[in-house]
């Protein structure tokens, strides 16, 4: 039996969708997201303040940040899942093909086929009243014109591919009958069903136990290397990002403050905020014998996006008047980019 997952981007795809080799699988440029206030009268809130990112086939990009950094908003904006209160500017390209300019229907179709989405809570993305299998069948029907027994065969193969044992039986199960880890695997299978080139994953292992988290991270990395999809992984845990990502983008107050190869960033973070995140990631602050084993703290709270000067300046040990007055732009640094007037000066 041929592996149906291998043929996900296969011959049933229209010719213009065949990926060119030299363009990134996903490219976003100048992404800005503002939210209108609920009653329409209050001020708009800026959540994402001009972000450029790209990820190639077979690569993992991780967006890391704390609440308020805008990392999840970026993901939802790419996936087209933000509510009507959001005003989105900028361009999203799937294999070089701009999708923001498309008519709504086409855009939805392009996203549905080109992007698979995995959420923190797999219960939230799976319909509780439909069996896991029938939900995957449905995606196959819409995007790959597979129906009935054909669809179910592919569904079972997909479930097997994501490590669900006994896929025939599990396909008939309802989401609540599966454990958290199996539900997340099923959700990943559903995200793969349309044969996407890009998978967006929002904290996919945060709700899982440690041993299961390791399994699911393995699975995601395996899909990237075997199927050649591009993965964008949003996480608050720098250690998780380091474990799976090729490149890491650190977000702060709606901007990318550092974007570099994972190993480089973990070894020598150039931005003071990356450095603080790394220190707060527990493996980097090993316990010292004795009572005085306090953890390094980062005082203060994240500023709102769109202010004057560097948003991190109020919490930054290196901040100068210049930092407070002029917002630093991303500039090349090492194998990536950093937005800091004093890049590289922080002690790692």
């Amino acid at each position: 039996m041929s592996d149906p997952v291998e043929s996900l981007a296969g011959p049933d795809m229209p010719a213009q969708d065949v990926p060119a080799q030299d363009v990134p699988a996903l490219e976003i440029t100048g992404l800005r997201v503002r939210f209108r206030s609920l009653d329409g009268r209050g001020p708009e809130v800026l959540a994402v303040d001009g972000i450029d990112l790209s990820v190639d086939r077979g690569r993992v990009l991780s967006l890391v940040g704390e609440s308020g950094s805008g990392k999840s908003t970026v993901l939802l904006a790419i996936a087209g899942l933000l509510s009507g209160a959001a005003i989105i500017e900028g361009e999203v390209r799937l294999h070089g093909r701009p999708i923001m300019g498309l008519a709504e229907r086409e855009r939805a179709m392009a996203r549905g086929r080109g992007i698979g989405m995995v959420f923190q809570d797999p219960g939230g993305s799976l319909n509780p009243v439909l069996s896991v299998g029938s939900q995957i069948d449905e995606v196959l029907g819409v995007h790959r014109d597979l129906h009935g027994r054909d669809a179910r065969g592919v569904t079972e193969a997909l479930l097997a591919r994501v490590g669900v044992g006994d896929p025939k039986r599990r396909a008939q199960a309802f989401p609540h009958q599966l454990s958290g880890g199996l539900r997340q695997r099923a959700a990943i299978a559903a995200a793969l069903a349309a044969g996407p080139e890009v998978i967006l994953a929002d904290e996919p292992t945060t709700a899982l136990d440690a041993t299961v988290q390791a399994q699911v991270l393995d699975l995601l990395v395996g899909l990237v290397s075997d199927e050649g999809v591009a993965l964008v992984l949003v996480t608050h845990d720098l250690a998780v990002a380091a474990a799976v990502a090729d490149r890491i983008a650190v977000l702060y107050a709606g901007r990318v403050v550092e974007e570099r190869p994972a190993g480089e960033l973990m070894d020598r973070p150039a931005h003071p905020y990356s450095s603080a995140l790394r220190a707060a990631a527990l493996p980097f602050s090993p316990r010292v014998a004795g009572d005085d084993a306090r953890l390094p703290e980062l005082p203060g709270r994240m500023a709102a996006a769109g202010g004057v000067g560097c948003a991190f300046a109020p919490r930054c040990p290196l901040a100068t008047d210049h930092c407070r007055a002029v917002t630093p732009e991303l500039t090349p640094y090492g194998g990536g980019r950093v937005a800091c007037w004093r890049a590289g000066e922080i002690e790692a």
């Binding site: 704390e66 609440s67 454990s179 958290g180 880890g181 199996l182 945060t206 136990d209 440690a210 041993t211 299961v212 988290q213 390791a214 399994q215 991270l217 393995d218 990395v221 608050h236 845990d237 720098l238 250690a239 998780v240 380091a242 474990a243 799976v244 994972a262 190993g263 973990m266 603080a276 995140l277 790394r278 707060a280 990631a281 527990l282 493996p283 980097f284 602050s285 090993p286 316990r287 009572d291 084993a293 306090r294 953890l295 390094p296 703290e297 980062l298 709270r301």
Partner: protein, 314 residues
Amino acid sequence: MTVLAARAIHRTFASGDKLVRAVDGVDLAVATGEILGLVGESGCGKTTLSRIIAGLDRPTSGDVMLDDQPFLGADGAVERGLRHRVQLVFQDPHASFDPRRTVGRSVGLPLRAGGMGRGATRTRVAELLESVGLDPALAERHPHTLSGGQLQRAAIARALAPRPDILVCDEPVASMDVSVRAQILNLLLDLRRERGIGILFVSHDLGVVRRIADRVAVMYLGRVVETGGSEAVWRLPRHPYTRSLAASIPTGSTTWRGGLGAVRLEGEPPSAVDVPPGCRFHPRCPIAIERCRVDDPVLRSFPPDVQVACHLAE
């Protein structure tokens, strides 16, 4: 000096016609100024156990002792006059505060229940909030107007109000941003140093436990499978389950997954409804032998201060 000791705690629930053995014979002890980390995955019974120790749930059998006196009476209820000595900090501070009441009112509730007057309570609440690093003016606010980190501090202030000897913290930093997490953990570390409070720190996050606990107890399906000094256990985990858990913590290294190799666990914890015979870990154990299928291992001591329930530990 041991303040709190739990002995042979069992807790079973009826689920339909089946029996769930949520806690299946656990002994624990917490000393003055000590942090005991209780770790395990969801469904291992750690939350049930922590609720029993805090007197919120009654054990099916077993004793909880405070300074060698029974903390729980024969009927499993907290003995009169001892209630204040063990306090609990919940995982979600927004759920553990009455949304209709001010923060100050909730923090002062243990004091009012103890018969303190209105004015004295107000003063004491201000002191308590200050002691956890909060502006006393927050007492007048409602819970939803505080951030998660602020409210968790208030929850710790509330737990400190009756001057407890033992603080049970059930996942107190789960779902918090790393910078807030560090602040809360440091607060707990300060409390045990400055006040000598013993802390039972319950968490599924081994990284956190490893960082702040003095001793650790690893639970699997209602039992403690390995316990001992934190450094000794993490440095040389003897139980295969502990080894897998330890290996599951991302190290921050880009090569971490590659090193996971043989200790990577397959499958997920079975439910406490169907506890396997013999060693309860054997169906997932990478090194199980025939004896493990039939013979339930008991905790054996290893130097310096570790106990392991595994036939193959050495």
